[in-house]
Symmetry: C2
Subunit: 314 residues, 2 copies
């Protein structure tokens, strides 16, 4: 196997830059009437998110491009090319959905958070009414963006359906938020934490990877492998997030640290302890990598981002 030159910092930088450019183009300008809602949408979308989900979509697409596309296997060029045209719009749509869920999750009636990524949350900056509508509008704009994807209509409509399912109430993002809310006054169990993590954050991470693949021509076997990979990587990501919440201070996190523990939230370390959680995250990533075995070097970018997800410190 040829040792690939995968520069994860370059992948992260390029992924964030492409996503930011797409978001800048797709979000209505601050001057567009009614200005308050567009200001609120931009406030939260450009609050310093790492664009991890768009990057996963891009790297999944790059993997498929390496396998099925015009780049020969093992000859994919990382950082700058090897991506299908317009993939950044899919990433931007996914980032809008992620941001809408954060805005609504932070509302007084839900988690009541004042700080997110070191900045005032949307309702603190713009008031509750506009924050509710800004979240709504980001979901709407995500689907408007998906409807304009530069792939075939067949692929685009399939992507719409998969993303809606993954962000819905039945084992999707909203369902996870509800389980999390309902479990607030009960002691978390292995079963409840797994169900919440899979739905609340896992489903969107998984579908980012799967739809990135579909955009770039994934066949049924690819979808199965990317689903396996995404399910495990998504869970590993959330476990690391839980551990960071317990072990880092607020300045590092850009949000109120230790809040999960204080509110008896369902987290992995609350059930299994910190050391076991770290081991679980690493084991899940190894298992996730095994699903990508058939792709050889074409999956190096995707694996590099996943590795970064579990090794990050904030």
């Amino acid at each position: 196997m040829i040792e690939m030159q995968v520069d994860v910092q370059e992948i992260l930088r390029e992924g964030a830059e492409r996503t930011d450019h797409a978001l800048e183009r797709l979000l209505p300008p601050m001057t567009q009437v009614p200005v308050s809602i567009h200001g609120a949408m931009r406030h939260s979308v450009f609050a310093g998110g790492k664009r991890l989900r768009p990057m996963l979509a891009m790297e999944a697409a790059r993997t498929m491009h390496g396998v099925h596309g015009n780049g020969a296997h093992g000859n994919a060029v990382y950082g700058g090319s090897g991506l299908p045209e317009g993939i950044e719009d899919l990433g931007a749509a996914i980032e809008m959905l992620h941001t809408y869920s954060l805005i609504h999750d932070d509302l007084p009636a839900l988690d009541n958070d004042d700080l997110r990524r070191g900045k005032p949350t949307c309702h603190v900056a713009y008031g509750e009414a506009i924050a509710i509508l800004a979240g709504d509008a980001l979901q709407t704009l995500a689907y408007q963006t998906l409807a304009g994807l530069k792939c075939s209509s067949e692929r685009a409509i399939r992507i719409v359906g998969l993303i809606a399912e993954a962000t819905g109430t039945v084992e999707g993002m909203i369902g996870g938020q509800v389980l999390d809310l309902e479990g607030e006054h009960a002691k978390p169990t292995a079963e409840s934490v797994l169900a919440i993590h899979r739905a609340k954050t896992g489903a969107l991470i998984r579908v980012s990877i799967v739809t990135g693949g579909i955009y770039a021509g994934a066949d049924a076997g690819d979808v199965r492998r990317l689903t396996e990979f995404g399910t495990k990587a998504g869970l590993a990501f959330q476990i690391v997030d839980d551990v960071l919440d317990m072990t880092q201070d607020s300045e590092h996190l850009g949000k109120t640290a230790g809040k999960d523990v204080a509110s008896d939230k369902a987290t992995w370390p609350a059930v299994f302890g910190i050391e076991a959680s770290r081991r679980d995250a690493n084991r899940l990533i190894s298992e996730a990598f095994a699903s990508l075995e058939p792709y050889g070097d074409a999956a190096e970018g995707l694996k590099a981002v996943a590795r970064y997800l579990v090794e990050r410190t904030h």
Copy 2:
């Protein structure tokens, strides 16, 4: 011109029944985990809505079916057939979007309404957190439903894009809600009321008609005519709604009557008076009907529903 037997009561009954059956099938059952959110979604979706938007989509489709489909021109059969297969799912998706906007509009941070269609609003029955998420989930489920439409992928993705645009922030539903909120402390003007009505309720009504047509094979000329018709019918509908709010009692309306006046909301009669508003609604419907002239009898069902919209008393 042959006098058609258009039974508007039969159209309304059939349209509501088909929509209700589709919604019953598409919404997760009450027993689906997490049960609270599914209960809340069903509470608001099955709160006695008249299903006017789905009916407009269906009748627009029936018109196109009469013009382009297997039913010969002037030979469309009303009440029971003449509708393309699966059109009720488009109507159900639109009704989900309408319902989500009502749930969020009723929230304490927005209009703070306790009563809607004679029933407790979603946040009164289920609490604010679940009401916010139930609104979110209805928007999500609408797009999941559109992704499964039984038309070509080209038509389905076009419908997704048009509906997202019509419910978005730029001259769409959310934009109208924001203008309405922002204008609460200013005296309404002809210009501001027109902008709010066109965006807040007009855009979704217009797009119901246009996408119903596209589902059934509307060409570019049809889309132009249906857009003209829908724009005028949508405005007429909202003017009548404003007049009813001023002239009916709460029992008739199923919501707190006179609230628009009390809160100095931007309404047509507040600017033009009740008599002029009634005249404007009738004039708009006549103009709307003129756009459908080329369709002759094939548009009788669509016109009957539009006529009902301005002649209704609740």
